[in-house]
């Protein structure tokens, strides 16, 4: 019985960390049952990921913004505006895609740095500074699309970013493998890397005498996560494989996870969020961190703009509406704390998937849009209540 006792203990101790995974699992299970399995179909999963992508990258950037105790309301319409600029550059100025994408990304970074300048240099509260940005970018979006209305993008390469799939490996003689081989290969590499990483980390912790999970629980965790990864890989490989959007999101989350957990910059960002004064006195420039975090937020806004514009294959006058709030909601569902210093990039990705699954599932079931908003609001409230109550017990 020690196994179940251990399991109970581990779950109770880590309920905050595991809570959102459990939530995602429960939501997906419920919709799978309610839609007779359509929800978990390869096609729907693929769509879900592509639809969540442009919010997920915003949520990743927003995580860091909230971690340093700030907020950015301007990102939605900034993304809309930058999407319009991308469309205009391609359609009216006839710039090649290879130039348009870095150009838009650069504009995003500059926009983020402007917000940071208002916040760090003038000391304006980020809520107000970025609310001004919200108004300005909305106005600019309407301005640049005023003459044309919706701008249709004819460029196939650009449109593939939001709709296309990574082509398969042209390996002859492997035709007996059913499905998208590259996706299967990446999935296998991912699973092996995960298992090795976990075992290695556990060994190191033991060597230093830190507490580790009991062996049985550890194996259970490995098997469970590896199984989930395998399932996702298999489902995706059975359809068109990995979409470009999914690949971009994975790379972004991977890079941001690495930065936040393994680098000096990441440590500094979380220290500034946890206690700005102590961080400053420890030789960390809070202003510099503010510039970096808002610059990264601008970059993510631009990436979101590219993903969204490409997905719609056009720039519209209302693009980006409410993106900022979806991203903030995703970050909170993913466990960031408004008090600063707490949050994880991966958590926010899960948060975005939770919110995305709700929309996707309810759409499949034909739930009216009005009730969709209510349901999303309730889930957000529940997530934050859960967070607050488990935190109190932990402290």
């Amino acid at each position: 019985m020690t196994f179940f006792h251990d399991l109970q203990k581990v779950l109770r101790q880590n309920i905050r960390e595991y809570g959102m995974y459990i939530a995602l699992f429960v939501i997906m299970a419920i919709f799978t049952v309610l839609t007779n399995g359509v929800f978990l179909s390869a096609r729907n999963m693929s769509n879900l990921i592509n639809q969540t992508g442009y919010i997920a990258v915003l949520a990743v950037g927003m995580t860091l913004v909230i971690v340093i105790r700030q907020i950015d309301l301007s990102v939605g319409f900034l993304a809309g505006f930058l999407g319009a600029i991308a469309a205009i550059a391609m359609v009216q100025w006839l710039w090649p895609v290879a130039v348009v994408i870095p150009f838009v990304l650069l504009l995003g970074v500059i926009a983020g740095l402007i917000s940071a300048f208002l916040i760090a240099y003038f000391g304006i509260p980020s809520f107000v500074a970025t609310l001004a940005g919200w108004l300005i970018y909305r106005g600019l979006l309407l301005q640049v699309t005023a003459g044309t209305g919706t701008i249709i993008i004819p460029d196939a390469i650009f449109n593939a970013i939001g709709n296309g799939y990574v082509p398969d490996l042209p390996i002859p003689g492997l035709d007996f493998i059913v499905g998208h081989k590259l996706t299967l290969l990446l999935g296998a590499i991912g699973i092996i890397a995960y298992i090795f990483g976990e075992i290695n980390g556990r060994r190191k912790k033991q060597a230093y005498g830190f507490e580790v999970l009991p062996p049985a629980i550890f194996v259970l965790k490995l098997v469970f996560i590896a199984a989930v990864l395998a399932l996702v890989t298999w489902v995706l490989a059975g359809y068109n494989g990995l979409s470009w959007t999914a690949l971009i999101v994975l790379v972004v989350v991977g890079i941001y996870s690495f930065i936040t957990t393994r680098t000096v910059l990441g440590r500094h960002i979380f220290a500034v969020g946890g206690n700005p004064e102590a961080a400053e006195l420890s030789g960390i420039s809070v202003k510099r961190i503010t510039y970096i975090v808002f610059g990264s937020m601008g970059l993510m806004s631009a990436l979101s703009a590219i993903l969204f514009t490409s997905r719609l294959q056009s720039a519209t006058t209302t693009a980006g509406t409410l993106f900022e709030l979806d991203a903030i909601a995703a970050a909170y569902v993913g466990g960031v704390s408004a008090a600063g210093g707490v949050g994880s990039v991966f958590g926010s990705l899960i948060g975005a998937l939770v919110m995305g699954s709700l929309v996707s599932g309810m759409n499949l079931m034909g739930v009216d849009i009005s009730m969709q908003y209510v349901a999303r609001g309730l889930v957000l409230a529940a997530a934050v209540i859960f967070d607050a109550t488990t935190r109190r017990r932990g402290g």
Partner: protein, 510 residues
């Protein structure tokens, strides 16, 4: 005789899962006396206060508390009931609303009103009456933000007294006060005593027990060791009751041999960076030798903290004067700049300025020195851990492991983490701003020992302290500050409390 006793704590035991915080504690407190409560951190003082204020309500502890003749039965959830019963607490951390006036703060939550509108005249008149009755020298209309810490404390006391408190519990009221303000507080307590208010007085500063209390109860490991009239006690006795053994000396003897001058400050003037008209330093000069401890004494607001944060490049704008490190004139523009040049600062307030409380010991120790462990921005976790473990071992930080969050540590251990962080940068000059504030006798002793070890290795220490005994016990020389300027540097052999106070208050010029 029994009507003398206002508070009779009888065999109180309070258990938490795994720990017994109080075991069989009995204390009798006489009406109108000032009763000192003494003990190291973790001895059970705060648990006792939480029982008296209703944070741990009636029924969650064993034993009885007889208050004013009947058993005290507080419900949980709010300290409101304790206040209505007449038990008020002045906390170490002040709990005032800074942007409100003194009167508004005193009557916060119980504003006198007529038909839903606040009667401001009545509020201020009553505030004035309370302040006058207990000779508290604050203006009812003053905005709290503009008051010094000492005056804020008075407002706290007025707030407690406005509820007709019979027992006033003061939890380390002087930890943020300078000598003159402490003197004033002692006068206020005398006034309270003459008005028949009973006080329970908690402090880490032993001399205060002898200055003000009528009797003292010592707690150790959740048990009452003794209750005695203060007149029967000596400091040495008190310390031995607290730690449970004889402690021969409070300040360990170091084997210091100060060498050549390593750090010089010459006629430093500086202004507040946010307010150019405010002069915070008006001519400070001193030198510091290798392996020396230079104590800086001065009242709150004398510019002690401003001096060190200005040197450290984090606060004042230097308008005149020079700073020399190892003979070279230097300018430190930020904390990281100062650190790279070999100057480190253990800041005044460890929770606010020293630590990221929610993060682990490991992350806090390495925070200022991550460059040492990183290649191409990536942190080498093994190197980080090894270096932090070494520091934790050298400083004898007591914790289950280094992944424990700092907010669960005791004050002394937290301070050690802050010191460890700065030692990792191998400073030549270590500035310590009130390094033992609010930590218990045992941890203080360990920090003093550490300071001795560092100076023996050639580190030079500048130590600011509000406790004169500490300044006298640890320094080689003492610089006294008054109104933003250095007055005189006394050799330890010519320094004593009276001389320092005379210089600090401006009574003596030299």
């Amino acid at each position: 005789m029994s009507e003398d006793i206002i508070l009779d704590i009888q065999n109180v035991t309070k258990r938490f899962p795994g720990v017994t915080a109080l075991s069989d504690v009995s204390i009798q407190i006489k009406r109108g006396e000032i009763h000192g409560l003494c003990g190291e951190n973790g001895a059970g003082k705060s648990t006792l206060i939480k029982i008296l204020s209703g944070v741990y309500p009636y029924g969650t502890y064993e034993g009885k508390v007889i208050y004013d003749g009947s058993e005290l039965k507080l419900e949980g959830g709010s300290i409101r009931q304790a206040i209505t019963e007449g038990i008020a607490i002045v906390y170490q951390e002040l709990t005032l609303v800074p942007n409100m006036t003194v009167g508004e703060n005193v009557f916060l939550g119980k504003e006198p009103s007529e038909n839903g509108a606040i009667n401001w005249d009545k509020l201020y008149a009553e505030t004035r009456d309370i302040l006058r009755k207990y000779q508290l020298d604050v203006a009812p209309q003053a905005v709290v933000r503009h008051l010094g810490v000492g005056k804020m404390q008075m407002v706290e006391i007025a707030k407690a007294l406005s509820e007709n408190a019979k027992i006033l519990i003061l939890d380390e009221p002087t930890s943020a006060l300078a000598e003159a303000e402490i003197e004033k507080l002692m006068e206020i307590l005398e006034t309270l005593r003459s008005h028949g208010v009973t006080c329970i007085y908690i402090t880490h500063k032993l001399d205060e027990f002898f200055r003000i209390t009528d009797s003292v109860t010592v707690l150790r490991d959740g048990k009452t060791v003794t209750t005695q009239p203060t007149g029967n006690l000596t400091k040495e006795k008190l310390v031995s009751y607290m730690v449970g053994r004889e402690m021969k000396e409070r300040f360990p003897k170091g084997n210091r041999r100060p060498g050549e001058v390593i750090f010089e400050v010459n006629d430093l003037h500086a202004i507040d960076p946010n307010d150019n008209s405010r002069h915070v330093l008006n001519g400070v000069s001193f030198d510091l030798r290798r392996g020396e401890i230079l104590g800086i004494a001065g009242l709150m607001g004398s510019g002690r903290t401003e001096l060190v944060t200005t040197i450290f490049g984090e606060y004042g704008k230097i308008t005149h004067g020079t700073i020399k490190l190892e003979g070279q004139e230097v300018e430190m523009t930020s904390a990281s700049d100062a650190m790279h040049k070999g100057v480190s600062l253990v800041p005044e307030d460890r929770k606010r300025q020293g630590l990221v409380l929610m993060q682990s010991i490991l992350k806090n120790i390495s925070l200022a020195n991550l460059d040492q462990f990183s290649k191409f921005f990536r942190i080498d976790a093994d190197a980080e851990l090894a270096a932090s473990l070494q520091q934790a071992k050298n400083l004898a930080i007591k914790a289950p492991n280094l992944l424990v969050a700092c907010d669960s540590l005791s004050g002394g251990n937290q301070q050690k983490v802050v010191i460890a962080k700065w030692l990792l940068s191998n400073p030549k000059v270590l500035i310590m701003d009130d390094p033992t504030r609010g930590i218990d006798v045992g941890a203080k002793y360990e920090i003093y020992k550490l300071m001795n070890e560092l100076t023996e290795k050639g580190v030079s220490i500048i130590m600011i302290s509000s406790e004169l005994e500490e300044v006298l016990g640890m320094s080689d020389r003492v610089m006294v500050m008054h109104e933003g300027a250095s007055t005189r540097i006394l050799d330890i052999r010519e320094a004593n409390q009276e001389r320092i106070m005379a210089l600090a208050t401006g009574i003596a010029e030299n």
